[in-house]
């Protein structure tokens, strides 16, 4: 059964408005957000250099108590503090599982994974597709990326006044 075109268009618009409204409401006091880092730090003040007030685990449901610019004062019932809005999500993040069946929570994979060489399967793929030069380029890229540490990125954010440092 085909829906009437105008009805379908109206439904799409209504759904879009609902989603937008829900997203906006989520970032208001009383709304809900979820932590999206393996360990999301909560701070005593809405400032990246403030003292720690604790940390919450990945995908933890947080209630917004107050909004101040890009900062949210949140609580998970026991831990309370300020969090940068970029460190939480208005939808619950999915935790993908590894081959061992254990959750691969947003862990510290960013730096270490970049240092690893291409997987054997990708190496074989390069051979089958005659992409050895491209493989050498990716190896070079991975080495370059490995040299760039999380501390470098943090320093960049601070110098450029980005992220929590806005």
């Amino acid at each position: 059964m085909n829906a009437h075109p105008n009805l379908s268009r109206g439904l799409v618009i209504a759904l879009a408005l609902t989603a937008t409204t829900a997203a906006l409401a989520a970032l208001a006091a009383g709304g809900t957000v979820y932590s999206k880092h393996f360990k999301t730090p909560l701070l005593a003040e809405p400032s990246p250099l403030a003292a720690s007030a604790g940390e919450v685990a990945f995908a933890r449901k947080l209630t917004i108590k107050e909004v101040r610019g890009h900062w949210l004062r949140v609580s998970d019932g026991s831990t309370k503090g300020w969090v940068f809005a970029g460190n939480v999500s208005d939808t619950k993040p999915e935790d993908v599982k590894g081959l061992d069946g254990l959750p691969v929570a947003a862990s510290q994979t960013t730096v270490t994974a970049a240092a690893r060489p291409l997987t054997p399967a990708a190496n074989d793929y390069a051979n089958r597709r005659n992409l050895q030069e491209a493989r050498a380029d990716l190896d070079w890229l991975n080495a370059q990326c490995h040299q760039l540490t999380e501390a470098d990125v943090q320093r960049f954010l601070q110098e450029k006044k980005k992220g929590e440092f806005q």
Binding site: K36, H37, F38, H70, A85, G86, S89, T91, P93, E94, V96, K97, G98, L99, D100, G101, V104, A105, A106, S107, T109, T110, V111, T112, A113, A114, R116, L118, T119, P120, A121, A122, N123, D124, Y125, A126, R128, R129, L131, E133, A134, R135, D137, L138, W140, L141, N142, Q144, C145, L148, D152, V153, F156, L157, K160, K161, K162, G163, F165, Q166
Partner: protein
């Protein structure tokens, strides 16, 4: 769900080529594949190991297709500092994000699963400021966080060809070879989308919106992407391919908020 299980088996088995057909380890690998299949649901549930293999293979195709990488450490450092600043506030901060510039005069950008983002030199040279660069990279990050390429594979026709192998769970060499062919076909399907067909327009518009939001929350001017799209439209350069795999520039500009261009 059955089809998804087949996909997972196909992808998990692809690394077997490296095992030099070690039949002694096959049953263990099949068990791993079955376990992986059980826990997955939907394209969003493709596990990190599978995504890594797919992403690397797609990245190889992109680099091979577009003339290799610009091996300039300063350029790579810049795109990675801006890119990783954005990625840390994305919905998938845990990925091993890597950003690079391709040796190509065309104007385009690509992404591969598992955090690979590429921008052509032709586009990079048009983005002297970080606000514009952030707008471009934000769009590509959105493709990865939205698992857009993985969704293409998950609904691809090549899955059905793997059904007999998944059902029999055989250690037959010919069937392993068939798995590799299915895997290569899946990667080829993603590559065709990236290089020829493009994502569907709604997916691209969504990536524009999500990328803009990501740039904004990170502290970059939200009008960076709109500014470069407008610049390209006004230049009307017909001497080279410009975002040839994306919707028309005017349609993308029209759907973005009317943000002012970033300060020079």
């Amino acid at each position: 769900m059955k089809i998804l299980t087949i996909l997972v088996l196909a992808l998990v088995l692809a690394p077997l080529s490296q095992a030099q057909f070690d039949f002694g380890g096959l049953s263990k690998t099949f068990d791993q594949a079955k376990s992986a299949a059980k826990m997955l649901k939907g394209a969003a549930g493709i596990g990190p190991e599978e995504e890594k293999v797919i992403g690397e293979s797609v990245a190889l195709e992109i680099v091979g297709q577009y003339g290799g990488l610009v091996r300039d450490p300063a350029v790579v450092a810049r795109v990675n500092l801006v890119g990783r600043s954005l990625a840390r506030y994305s919905s998938r901060p845990e990925l091993a994000w890597r950003f690079a510039v391709l040796q190509s005069d065309t104007v385009n950008a690509f992404s591969a699963p598992d955090g690979y983002v590429f921008i052509t030199r032709g586009l990079y040279d048009l983005a002297p400021g970080d606000d514009v660069l952030a707008g471009i990279l934000g769009h590509e990050i959105a493709h990865i966080t939205g698992r857009h390429a993985l969704k293409i594979v998950a609904r691809g026709e090549f899955l059905s060809g793997a059904s007999s192998l998944a059902a029999q769970q055989s250690s037959d060499v010919r069937q392993l070879d068939a798995q590799l062919q299915h895997f290569d076909a899946g990667v080829g399907q993603i590559a065709d989308t990236l290089f020829k067909n493009g994502f569907d327009p709604q997916t691209e518009f969504a990536a524009d919106q999500d990328g803009r939001a990501l740039a904004s929350i990170t502290g970059y001017a939200p009008g960076g992407l709109r500014a470069i799209l407008t610049q390209l439209q006004q230049q009307g350069d017909k001497s080279r391919a410009i975002f040839s795999t994306h919707p028309p520039l005017k349609d993308r500009i029209h759907r973005l908020p009317d943000d002012p261009p970033p300060a020079a």
